[in-house]
Structure formats: structure tokens, C-alpha cells
């Protein structure tokens, strides 16, 4: 088990290192002067060449690429993650301030996706190819097709017109346990929208996995010894069918981070996704590069965690 974890971590480390190089290169091939983002196209024309040079040096953009890269890595090691062009706080501080909100949205959305997806999967798998199954399938395909950010806009609009309700724009830095009312109002909308897409995938995966498990001998044995159908499903079939669903859910959690970018914009949620949206529009390369790196680290860590959980639950995988 330990060698398995160490091996997975080592591979994860290599991947994250590779991501840092690729992200850095993508950010540096950006056409146009990074200073345009700060001074605007008009301000740029007023800058003298000497001024431009000194600003570039101040920001460390005049150094050779390899020096810039090493500086960035040192920044990451120190936990500062560099500075925004426009704001005083370091990216590290911003992640600490905004990150928890997005993390709560992501976790709540996973919980909601299981609550929505698993019952649907059970109904579909127990009565495959019936009207209920087909309805579930159409609904899940619809959930995958509707863009989350649009649904978010509709929800915001609907609440505003229907009930004159607006979710609070900020919790004033309070956490979920200090001010649960306000925080829940902020995160429930984005979490619900992000949960729908995941629930569709989960329902699909759990359905096919259940259909396979139900055919197994031990399920037939359980039925044959007279266990009632409900217990056969909940005690014998479901636990074994959920393994691939756990893997999928972990991967989807990573995609939620990406999905939160447009969805947080639609809801106006002050989380990391919104920060990414702002950075992209301001062409703030330092913030972008660090946030993307952070996404990659979280994504890789999630994959490793899921693999370890699966190996822990299912010894067959551990010893492969």
C-alpha cells in the first residue's frame, strides 16, 4: 500500500512540474506587451522606452526566461505565488481568502450530485429500458447540454423577478461555521448548478455499473436465500457498484473547479473562479499563471486521493 502511494505521489509530482513549465511557456508566448494590461493602450504610448524598461525590470519580466521561471518556482515554494498587477495582496493571500468559498461550492456540489444521481441510477437500473429509465436518460442528457452559466443566470433572474431576492454578494470573510446563513445563500446556487452536470454523469455510470453487478452470482445468492429486494440492492449490489462512481466523482470534482469559472461569473460569487475570470480579462499573467498551476495541483491531488481511496477499499487494485 505504501509503495503504491509513494509511486502515485512521485508521478503526480512529475506531472505538476511539467504543468508548471507548460503554463509558464503559454503565458510568456502571449502576444502583446504585458504592460499594456497595466497602463492601457493609451498609457503605453506615453511611456518612454526607458520607463518601459524600468517597469519590466521591476516586474522581473526583463530577466531571461529561465531566471523568471526559477523565480516563480521560488515564489511557489515560499507560498506567495507572486503578485497581481493591480492589487496589493499576493496571489497566495487571495487564494486563502477566496479559495474556501470555491472549495465549499465544489464539495457541496459533489454531495448534491450523489443525492440527485444515485436514486435516479437505482430506479433506472432496476427497471432498464422502461419509461422511467428513458425519462431519466433524457433528463441527464439535458443536464449535460444546458450550460451551467446560463442556468445560473436564469436562476439569478428568476429569483430576482419572482421574489425580489438577491443572494448576498459577500460573507465579509466569515466561514461556513461562523455565518452559515449567509455563506449557504452564496454557495447553494453555484453548487446546485454544478451538481446537475455531475449528477448526470454519476447517474449514467452508477446505472451501468449496477446493471453489471446485479447479474453477479452473489446477488443471485442473496436473492435465493430470501433476502428482500430492497436489502439486496442496498447491502449487496450498491456498495460494489459504487467503486467506479467514486473514481468518476473525484475526477468530476476537478472539472467542477473549471466549471466554477463561468458559473461564479454568472452568480457573481466572490470565489476563485471569479478571480480567474477577472485575471483573464485584465490579462493579469501572474494571477492567471498561479491560479492555473493551483488548479493543476488540486486536480492531480484529487486523482491521487481517489486512487488511494479505491485501492484502500478494493485490495484487488492495490496488489496489481
Amino acid at each position: 500500500m505504501y509503495s503504491y502511494i509513494v509511486r502515485r505521489l512521485a508521478f503526480g509530482g512529475i506531472t505538476v512540474f511539467g504543468v508548471s513549465i507548460i503554463v509558464f511557456l503559454i503565458m510568456r508566448i502571449m502576444p502583446g506587451d504585458p504592460l499594456t494590461a497595466i497602463f492601457g493602450p493609451e498609457g503605453m504610448t506615453k511611456l518612454t522606452e526607458a520607463q518601459r524598461q524600468s517597469y519590466m525590470e521591476e516586474l522581473g519580466l526583463a530577466d531571461p526566461l529561465i531566471v523568471q521561471y526559477l523565480n516563480w518556482i521560488m515564489d511557489i515554494v515560499r507560498g506567495e505565488l507572486g503578485r497581481s498587477f493591480f492589487r496589493a495582496e499576493s496571489v497566495g493571500e487571495m487564494v486563502l481568502r477566496r479559495g474556501p468559498l470555491t472549495a465549499q461550492i465544489a464539495i457541496l456540489s459533489v454531495i448534491l450530485s450523489w443525492i440527485l444521481g444515485i436514486p435516479v441510477a437505482i430506479i433506472s437500473a432496476l427497471r432498464p429500458n422502461t419509461a422511467a429509465d428513458n425519462t431519466a436518460r433524457v433528463i441527464s442528457i439535458t443536464c449535460l447540454a444546458v450550460p451551467g452559466f446560463w442556468l445560473g443566470m436564469l436562476i439569478v433572474l428568476g429569483l430576482l423577478f419572482g421574489f425580489g431576492y438577491r443572494a448576498p454578494q459577500t460573507a465579509g470573510g466569515a466561514g461556513l461555521f461562523e455565518d452559515p446563513g449567509t455563506v449557504l445563500q452564496i454557495i447553494i446556487g453555484p453548487a446546485f448548478v454544478l451538481a446537475l452536470g455531475q449528477a448526470a454523469y454519476i447517474a449514467r455510470m452508477a446505472r451501468s455499473s449496477l446493471l453489471e453487478v446485479i447479474r453477479e452470482d452473489y446477488v443471485r445468492t442473496a436473492r435465493a436465500k430470501g433476502l428482500n429486494g430492497r436489502l439486496v440492492v442496498s447491502l449487496h449490489a450498491l456498495p460494489n457498484a459504487l467503486l467506479p462512481v467514486i473514481t468518476l466523482s473525484g475526477i468530476l470534482l476537478g472539472f467542477v473547479l473549471a466549471g466554477s469559472i463561468p458559473v461564479e461569473r454568472a452568480f457573481g460569487t466572490p470565489g476563485l473562479g471569479y478571480a480567474m475570470f477577472t485575471a483573464v480579462n485584465e490579462r493579469d499573467i501572474f494571477v492567471m499563471q498561479n491560479l492555473v498551476f493551483l488548479y493543476a495541483v488540486v486536480f492531480v491531488m484529487l486523482n491521487i486521493t481517489v486512487d488511494i481511496i479505491i485501492a484502500w477499499i478494493d485490495p484487488r487494485i492495490r496488489y496489481q
Binding site: 504543468v19 503554463v23 502583446g32 428513458n134 447540454a145 452559466f149 469559472i261 461569473r265 493543476a296 486536480f299
Partner: protein, 297 residues
Amino acid sequence: MAEIDHQAELTRAGANVSGHWSRLLFYMRQHPLGAIGAVIVIVFVFSAVFADVLAPHDPLHTSAPDSLKAPDTTFVMGADMMGRDVLSRIIHGARISLTVGVASILLGGVIGIVIGLMSGYLLGWFDLLMQRLIDIMQALPLLVLALVMAASLGPSLENTIIAISIPLVPNVARVVRSSTLSLREMPFVEAARAAGMSELRVAVRHVLPNTLAPLIVLFTAQLGAAILVEASLSFLGLGVPEPHPSWGRMLSESAAEYVRVAPWLVIFPGIAISLAVFGTNLFGDAVRDILDPRQRS
């Protein structure tokens, strides 16, 4: 013993169906959802191709007096802030959406096929290098990688296509590589080699065609994703720039300011995106079931 009605069994399996049209009808009856998807896809493609004829107004024509006009008989879906007809912009938006979707899949597909074929064929250090590169690329969700690429390249139609195509490469390369690995040991490939064909010719003429079925399945599955990513990018202010009528950008503009006075600006482009993705996904599922029955869920 139960009597087996051979004729009925053959009909059910579609074995005695002859001719293209009756085969199509057979598939449509087997996959009613896929047929609905196909109809939506056809409408989508039709409006993309004939946008100039179908659109009642010029999608770029601005007129101050019509600004934010509610839906009526002239502007069926209302007009936007600059007095442009929303319906015409949505019809032309299908062209942008489809162009970006198809072009990025083809571009990503070609790059992925080349990498996958070379990986599976050459093996060795090239394969190792490419596998690591693919791992790295897959450590970033599609939208994030596309977002960074689009931000880095700058907003334009071509750059959007490139930004969406690159994150699609890993999956294609994986599929082609794994088929190549199993195909290269097949007797017919060995026979071609024994007959004196050059390696390149064997790869292109004998291996590649046999990887096509899973690839077509992958491409149709990716089309919906590519359309969604384009909409998301444009919604975030990247992607296809003005004056092109992109569905995502239409939502982005209306999201900020005019939402309270003109809800139609929010509703119709979103329906267009949802329908297009819904149709391509249904169609893609049916294509998968027909071409690759093993993956059937």
C-alpha cells in the same frame, strides 16, 4: 421447445434490411433519441450553412431606435442593446458555433492522429515523451487549458479554434495509440509488411483506417463539448470577438447590464446553446451505439 421465428429475428436485428434509406429508417426506429438528435443536428447545420438566406435581418445592422426592443412581429426574439435582431444573430451564431466546433475537432484530431500513430508505431523515447506530455495536458481540465490558451493567443476566430483544439488532442492520441498497438501485431499488418510495403504506407493505409470507428465515436462526443467550451470562453470575454454573433458572447453582454430590462437577451441564446449541445450529444450517443456496440450502456 419454443418455435424460433427466423424472419422476425432477422427483422429485429436489421439483417434483412437492404438499401440506404431502409437502413436509415431501421436505425431511426432502433434509436429514436438518436433520430431526434439527428434532426436537431440537421437544423443546426442547415441554419449555419444558409444563415444568410434564413436570417430575417442583417445580424450586424445596428439601429438606435430599435435598442432593447421587446419581441414582436418584426423582431421575433427582440433586439439587443444596439438594435440588432436577436433571431438573426442566433441563426448566424450557429455558423460560428459549428465552425469553431468542427474545425477544432478536426485540427485536434489531425494532431492527435499523427501523435497517436507515431507513438504506437515508433514506441521508444518518442512514445515515452508523448505519453508524459499527454499526462501533463490531462492534468488540466479542458476549459482551463482552453481558457489559458485563448487568453494567451488573444481573441479571434482562428485562435479560439486553436485554443479549443489543443486540449482535445490527448484523447485522440490515446485512442489512436492503443488501437495502433493492437493492430500492429495483426496478421494483415504483418502481411502488408511482408509484401514489401513501406512502414509509412502500412501505417496510413492499413493501420489508420482500422482506428476510424472509435475515432468517429470520439469526434461526435467531442463536438458537444467543443461547442460548450466555445460558449463558455465567449461568455468569459475570450473566444470569438465582436462583431461575430457568438451565442456565448451574446449572453456575456446581456449578463452584465440589460438583464432586468431585456430578459429575452438571456433566454434565447441559452436555448440555442442547449439545443445544439443536446442534439449533438443525442446524435453522438446513437453513433456510438451503432459503430461500437461494446460501449453500449
